[in-house]
């Protein structure tokens, strides 16, 4: 199990690095999808198959498709020259220094944390559902309200008055 975890983790880290350092928008998105799939494998190994499946269906399968859809519409995949101007190598110095400080911090902190062994038995969808709708009901409802606000906003932005029956009859 450990071997599989390390393989998935290495794939996730490499693909994430490729995603943020790539110049081609679509290729970066593909690496991001790969990283999400690797994270889903890690969830599966931690005996949480339901979350693993949701990671694939929702993040890799739905949200990333929308990202690719928008990138395709704007056609920014092939404009490599502007990307080059934005991504100068010296820009990486400060963020990577800060990230290194955080990494040292994290490693020092991890020393004191007891590692939690994953349960032998997988956590089934039924258990997840029961705990979501009893213990964590408030969280679910808040998330639902947030999504509802998004839906109403999208509806408001997308709604148009229907002017005439057919576009050929329109007078401009």
């Amino acid at each position: 199990m450990n071997v599989f975890f390390y393989i998935a983790a290495v794939v996730a880290i490499i693909s994430t690095i490729m995603a943020i350092s790539g110049r081609n928008a679509i290729h970066s998105l593909l690496y991001l999808i790969l990283s999400l799939l690797a994270i889903s494998v890690i969830f599966y190994l931690l005996s949480a198959p339901f979350i693993a499946a949701l990671e694939v269906i929702i993040y890799a399968g739905a949200i990333m498709v929308l990202f690719i859809f928008v990138t395709m519409m704007l056609n920014i995949g092939l404009e490599r020259e502007t990307e080059k101007k934005w991504l100068k190598p010296c820009m990486w110095i400060v963020p990577s220094l800060l990230a290194a400080v955080l990494l040292v911090n994290l490693i020092l902190a991890l020393k004191n944390v007891k590692s939690i062994q994953p349960d032998e038995e997988a956590i089934l969808p039924k258990q997840v559902g029961i705990s979501l709708f009893s213990t964590y009901l408030l969280g679910v409802e808040i998330a639902a309200i947030l999504l509802m606000a998004g839906v109403i906003g999208a509806y408001h932005l997308g709604s148009q008055k229907k002017k005439v029956k057919h576009r050929f009859l329109e007078i401009n």
Binding site: N24, I26, H27, L30, I33, P49, F50, A52, A53, L54, V56, I57, A60, G61, A62, V65, L66, I68, F69, M72, M73, G77, A122, L124, P125, K126
Partner: protein, 314 residues
């Protein structure tokens, strides 16, 4: 060792069904259109399958110079991988399956949502405006129909009390689910057609408007993979309809269970072909309207009513 045989068996069955469908579809279409169809090569024209396959293998496999080469080559593979992976969780018989996953239904939904990338990336990487339009239509269509494809299955999952395909089949011993879950069946069937982008929902390729849509630039075996992937998709959706709503391998005991499964699957494949022969293609906005305004509320209603009845009966 047993698993190696089962995996090989499932692969051979699915791939030969997909290849055979080239012939089946043409012959059935010609029956419904009152003509003969391919009947020259071999007995009943069966050699047409071999002839077509050889043709596909020996055609020039051209990668356009203006395309995004790695993505262009990757795209057809994604389609085949996601569909063939899903066959791993489909039970062909009582003990004839590769992997009985306790998240089987979700595994199928995840794979089908990854299958979208094949079409979208294929169309984008071709760097051709017709292909791009096809890819954009495909992403909107498949994203829409995925939403209630998942929702329509939740009624079945609630009744069987499990996401595992094997348990869903066993739960249908007293009655097939297509009677209590009739709305779910209809919604899943329509979503299945849209998801495999078959006629009448072949808007991403729409040969009258977009040449061949997302695979205009593909040739040789790369086109062949899209071609076989489409037939594999039909086989998969038919197999899932028979598993989820029509009792899978259950049937009278005078014939082996695998036969019943294949018989039901073949029946639904024929229904798919009949739909192609008889229905015109809707307009793009009509397709979206049907999805969001009719099928989504229907599947939500089905979910609510099924849940209420199940709680009431407990």
């Amino acid at each position: 060792m047993k698993y190696v045989f089962i995996i090989a068996g499932v692969l051979i069955i699915t791939l030969s069904i997909a290849a055979g469908l080239i012939w089946v579809e043409r012959r059935l279409l010609s029956v419904w259109q009152d003509r003969l169809g391919p009947n020259r090569v071999g007995p009943f024209g069966l050699g047409q399958v071999v002839a077509d396959t050889i043709k596909l293998f020996f055609k020039e496999d051209w990668v356009p110079s203006f395309s995004d080469r790695p993505v262009f080559i990757l795209a057809p593979g994604i389609l085949l991988i996601t569909i063939l992976l899903t066959f791993a969780v489909v039970p062909f018989g009582p003990n004839f399956y590769v992997f009985d996953s306790n998240i089987g239904v979700l595994f199928f939904l995840g794979n089908s949502s990854l299958g979208v990338y094949s079409i979208v990336l294929g169309g984008w990487a071709s760097n051709n405006k017709y292909s791009l339009i096809g890819a954009m239509r495909a992403s909107a269509q498949m994203l829409t129909y995925e939403v209630f494809m998942g929702l329509s299955l939740m009624g079945v999952v609630m009744m069987a009390d499990s996401f595992s395909f094997c348990k869903i089949v066993e739960a249908q011993k007293d009655g097939w689910f297509f009677i209590p879950q009739f709305i779910g069946f209809i919604v899943f069937f329509i979503a299945g057609i849209a998801e495999t982008h078959r006629l009448p929902f072949d808007i991403p390729e729409a040969e009258g408007e977009l040449i061949a849509g997302y695979h205009s630039e593909y040739s040789g075996m790369k086109f062949g993979m899209f071609f076989v992937g489409e037939y594999l998709g039909i086989t998969l959706i038919s197999a899932l309809i028979s598993t989820l709503f029509f009792g899978g391998w259950l049937g009278p005991s005078f014939l082996p269970p695998v036969f019943w499964f294949l018989f039901k699957t073949f029946f639904f494949i024929c229904v798919f072909i009949l739909l192609r022969a008889s229905l015109p293609r809707p307009r793009y906005d009509q397709l979206m309207e049907l999805g969001w305004k009719i099928l989504l509320p229907l599947s939500l209603l089905n979910l609510l009513i099924t849940g209420a009845i199940l709680i009431f009966l407990k």
